[in-house]
Symmetry: C2
Subunit: 379 residues, 2 copies
């Protein structure tokens, strides 16, 4: 498709490149920040999605002061970039005690735990009094103490409060089961149910004299779809800054909110199979997939260059197969006619967190490079 005026046309891209539409990302941040403000919630966005100090600064300019990360290395990176209050929303890993110690000297660390043993094991690695959150499971069944195991939660809360180096921040959950929901309505139902359970736990703790105790929630589907957050004190969504096809398919964002795409050159075209091959494979997109209405795996949809950005997801041209470096797009005759070898397609990612994690930088549509954290080998 010829859009001579598209900003994509003026970028120098000759191989798979992670594009970032800054306007969309900032709009996504503003929308979520406003929602948190309106509901009186602390906004503690998860930075694992973008992992970029420069993008972090966009949040800071909008008033954000506290953040979430998923590893100590990520925490160290953002601490080095001036973030003074960081929650590591991943069960504290005592094997990394040394890193915890040096980090605790640089920033206000907040940690996550799920057992009394861990509460007793942490203090030697903490240079300062450290707020800890108790990981509570409300239905996702990944990590956390089952919400209705009151006696275990009380035991852990007491263990925390008996350690001079720890303070009890509250209850934290990740309702990741919203990703399996079929509609925003179902997401709101899960969200409501999660808060109901957490409030019940909080009440039970209060009866035991254990308070104050905050409630922290934070999956992008809930935070995007919900308007009521009764009982919550903070939200920690991450994916919303970029969104992706999973989110637009769930109905919690529109395709036009998706702020990253991978520019991929078309390298071959096979009319007889109605197929176009892009330079862009599993190492450029990740192997995350959606199932389409026929139950077929789809690894992304292309978008053509548009006037201000890339256009909408072309759902009639799915990426149906992905090997290490190749992606295969199935196209009808009309799309095939519009596409030629050497064209660039913007591939919308199925899961933007995983896709972005494969790159060291973003290319903004104005041609500027935005660095991501150079991970110290996956830390």
């Amino acid at each position: 498709m010829s859009h001579a005026s598209s900003p994509l046309k003026s970028l120098t891209v000759n191989r798979p490149t992670l594009l970032l539409d800054k306007n969309r990302a900032i709009r996504n941040i503003q929308r979520m920040q406003k929602k948190a403000d309106r509901a009186g919630l602390r906004f503690r966005p998860h930075f694992k999605t973008h992992q970029s100090a420069a993008i972090g600064a966009w949040f800071r300019r909008l008033g954000c002061k506290s953040i979430t990360v998923s590893s100590l290395d990520m925490a160290a990176y953002f601490a080095d970039h001036g973030w003074k209050n960081i929650t590591v929303a991943f069960t504290a890993n005592l094997l990394e005690g040394k890193a915890m110690k040096s980090l605790g000297r640089k920033t206000q660390l907040n940690l996550l735990l799920d057992s009394a043993e861990l509460a007793r094991g942490l203090p030697p690695f903490l240079p300062a009094k450290t707020p800890v959150w108790i990981d509570v499971d409300v239905g996702y069944h990944r990590t956390g103490i089952p919400w209705d195991d009151f006696s275990k939660i009380i035991t852990v809360a007491r263990a925390v409060r008996s350690e001079a180096k720890l303070s009890l921040a509250g209850l934290l959950t990740h309702s990741g089961h919203t990703y399996q929901a079929k509609s925003p309505l179902e997401i709101r139902r899960i969200h409501k149910d999660s808060l109901l359970k957490l409030r019940a736990v909080k009440k039970r703790l209060q009866e035991e004299g254990i308070h104050p105790c905050e409630i922290s929630i934070g999956d992008t589907p809930s935070c995007s779809a919900a308007n009521s957050f009764a009982g919550a004190d903070e939200i920690r969504p991450g994916n919303f800054i970029f969104y992706d096809l999973t989110m637009s398919t769930l109905g919690v964002c529109r395709d036009e909110d998706i702020a990253v795409a991978v520019a991929c050159p078309v390298v071959a075209k096979y009319e007889s199979w109605n197929q176009v091959v892009i330079y862009g494979g599993a190492v450029h997109l990740s192997k995350e997939f959606l199932l389409d209405e026929r139950g077929r795996r789809v690894y992304g949809y292309p978008a053509f260059p548009g006037n201000a950005s890339w256009g909408p997801a072309e759902r009639k041209a799915p990426i149906v197969s992905l090997s290490q470096e190749h992606g295969l797009i199935e196209m009808n005759d009309s799309f095939l006619r519009q596409t030629k070898v050497g064209d660039l397609l913007a591939i919308l990612p199925v899961h933007s967190c995983l896709t972005a994690d494969l790159y060291r930088s973003y290319l903004a549509l104005d041609g500027k490079k935005i660095e991501r954290r150079q991970s110290n080998d996956r830390g």
Copy 2:
């Protein structure tokens, strides 16, 4: 499990780390090299799997002189490390003409194409006479001219021969459909069929006066399972250096041949769900999966520390779910009893190429670090 003497126990690992069993890798190289020698084939291993100059040197010491890569950046890296004959087994991408030109000055480049337009488009970017392979599809349907479209293949071959800067190396295929086979027998059937088709094309070209024309094949399943390579001139397998669960499930290697694993700390244990949580998610393992006999997705199997390396894949303890940083392992009571928070598990990868691609280095079992190519942002 306590194996006080296991080399894994003496490694300093506190977060997901890519382990390499050098003995196994070298054994895998030797076995394939011998097979190529015995069959009189040029051994042109695909280096996209390991992407390491140090590992490349192990091949060189065994007599290997020519290699395969999947991108120009990868070719540049290995050219800088002394490799003088490199095939880029990926449809030539004219958008990268400049990179092609500078690379062609450093090494003998061999390129891949599938159209007469490409044959005519390449010469301006070639500083020296360049052998090109015609990409032929024998059933995988990813890239390549359908093998029975003789007239197109002849047209492309003639276009190549009419360019002073190009020479026709021959016919190249990747029979990736062997990955979908159910047994080594079926793999050998596909392999035989591929060679039959390529020989038919070669004969047809010969009848048109187009020769010499070599035949290059190269998927790890075929090269591992087959003993006869009648008609082939070179093989380009890559995955075999590490193998993985996909290959041992296909029956073309044993679990004991798998030469990489990701060491992951156990961070939580939930007896009530028979579940252990590891620090090790999609960004550490990739989302490639196998289907087990119940049709369930499995993202890897753990192995316990063994005497000389890690032990066999524990198929009764599958990783059943993988989010960005977490892996969930389902365990029976007996495994649960053997496993505690803080333990390290060696996770055998489903697809070692994709897993290794997520790291910048390997940790050998003797504690030495082996660098991988620092990719220039996914090139």
